[in-house]
Amino acid sequence: MSLLRIEGLTRRFGGLVAVDNVTLDIPPQRLSAVIGPNGAGKTTLFNMISGFIPPSAGTVHFDGHEITAQPPESIARRGLIRTFQLVQLFEGLTVLENVKIGCHLHTRGGLLAALMPLAWAQAEEVAVEAEAHRLLEETGLADQAATSAAVLPYGQKRLLEITRALAARPKLLLLDEPAAGLNRQETDALAALLRRIVANGTAILLIEHDMQLVMNVADQVAVLDFGRLIAQGRPEEVRRNPDVIAAYLGSQEAARA
């Protein structure tokens, strides 16, 4: 039983086939990774899964429902929450407010709740505040709660985006290169955080360049090259796969991994 099932997913941009007939199963409560050299179609794949671009062909099923080409907000409502390769924070707001916005999906206050002191709405606000603080505690950003998101150092911005996504209580968290631009120490802390998230029952699918991170944390790895799926399996199997070595690990990445 898979949480996310991608079948024959294809995306063409004019003559270029960015993602070519990819079929993948992502299990619940596991950490899966998609790797591949630059331009392999990883982000395009993510954009199709999360509804930001429609596929040219193929289907996406999530949690027993077809979500192919549905708008992003409908897909998010089903419990599939993504982050972005270029961090997309609400820069003008505080760290705490960013996380509170993440609670949108499982709260319901509208205009009436904004204008009147309704008991249920006030209780909801208290719960949101508490949950946001708890999540910031968990990801180590508690000290920055009142800081403007715009002035956070880069590594903490990435962390905040993940915290905000967690506030939406995802069943599956899609992370687009969460370690990009992080130093070794920050990457190790991120790896530990990702394992904790999975241990708490949230599945993760991540796109990553950092081979060491992927090999350390992933339960299963899929490899894309020129838009095609060339291998998948456990990290140590994928690492030994000759096609993968030729396409990707054959370069200087192999030495580092």
Binding site: I81, L89, K100
Partner: protein, 324 residues
């Protein structure tokens, strides 16, 4: 009440904030005691506070742009004027009909128009305002064209009417404060968070399950409600309405107030409305150079406090922080 307490907590200990609010309060008190011409300036400022607060919900909180909110003020203002002056209705039911008309129009117009962004949204909303103006001019049988409708009765319920200048000042001050408090309530709520999320990053908002198109329409409709209420208040306060009242000048003036006061802040619309209404008067001594002095003051404010007067306390706190 909570929002009042937050505003006070923020202002306490910040001399600039205290000074700004103190000045505003002194101005209101002074004109209340002495009466005279300046009281009319403040009537005008408080009505505009309601309008600009609405504009702030759509432009400041939600990060959109509208040059057409004068249309909603016009719909409700004319409805109030026609129903009370021509058909002898009470101000309250007439105003409610006007409000309903403006909201219906905002929903119908907003649905297609809000698909546009940036400059295109600006152009489309500008067109809404121009259409409303043309209708007011051409629909002679109802609006009496350029002549306008005079003899609009003062505000009131039943036998109780607000006739005196001082009474009107208090009434409009309450309306303006309620506008600010409701905007503060919206800003701190889940609804307000969805608005500022749309302003911050539409992609991130959608990825978190926020229906961006829906919340833009909600913000547009709410801001139209403020504009409609301002429009009705205006015709009753002045007793007269003509197309010019809700013309392009209204748009320019409300934009100036919003930016000078501080777009996106809760208190900004009121500070901006008071300052922009009072500035030309205070430069009267400059005689021929009045407009020049007014323009120079505006430019100075926008250079030294680009986020408006409401950001001055924050600038002061930062400056003190560096100093310490």
């Amino acid at each position: 009440m909570n929002s009042l307490i937050t505003i006070w907590a923020k202002a306490r200990g910040n001399p600039i904030a205290l000074l700004l609010w103190g000045l505003a309060a002194a101005l209101v008190l002074y004109s209340f005691v002495t009466g005279g011409y300046f009281i009319a300036v403040l009537h005008f400022a408080f009505i505009y506070t309601v309008l600009v607060t609405g504009l702030n919900v759509f432009m400041g909180f939600t990060g959109q742009v509208s040059f057409g909110h004068n249309a909603f003020a016009a719909i409700s203002g004319y409805t109030s004027a026609v129903l009370t002056a021509t058909y002898g209705w009470e101000p309250l039911p007439a105003g409610l009909v006007g409000l309903a008309g403006a909201l219906t129009c905002a929903l119908v117009v907003g649905y297609p128009v809000l698909r546009l962004r940036g400059h295109y949204l600006a152009m489309a909303t500008l067109a809404i305002g121009l259409i409303a103006y043309e209708v007011a001019v051409q629909w002679d049988s109802v609006t009496k064209g350029y002549m306008g409708i005079s003899g609009v009765p003062p505000l009131g319920v039943g036998s109780f009417t607000v006739v005196s200048d001082r009474g009107l000042l208090v009434f409009l001050l309450i309306a303006a404060v309620l506008a600010l408090l409701s905007a503060a309530g919206i800003r701190r709520s889940r609804l307000g968070r969805a608005f500022v999320a749309v302003a911050g990053s539409e992609d991130a908002a959608r990825a978190l399950g926020i229906d961006v198109a829906r919340y833009k329409l909600i913000a547009f409709t709410i801001s139209a409600a403020y504009a409609a209420i301002a429009g009705s208040l205006f015709v009753h306060a002045v007793g007269f309405v003509s197309p010019e009242v809700f013309g392009l000048a209204m748009v320019v003036l409300s934009f100036t107030m919003l930016y000078v006061g501080g777009i996106g802040t809760v208190a900004g619309p009121m500070l901006g409305a008071i300052i922009i209404s009072a500035l030309p008067e205070s430069f009267r001594t400059f005689k021929d150079y009045q407009d020049l002095a007014y323009g120079a003051a505006l430019i100075a404010i926008l250079i030294y406090a680009p986020r408006g007067l409401a950001s001055l306390p924050e600038l002061w706190a930062k400056w003190r922080g560096k100093d310490a």
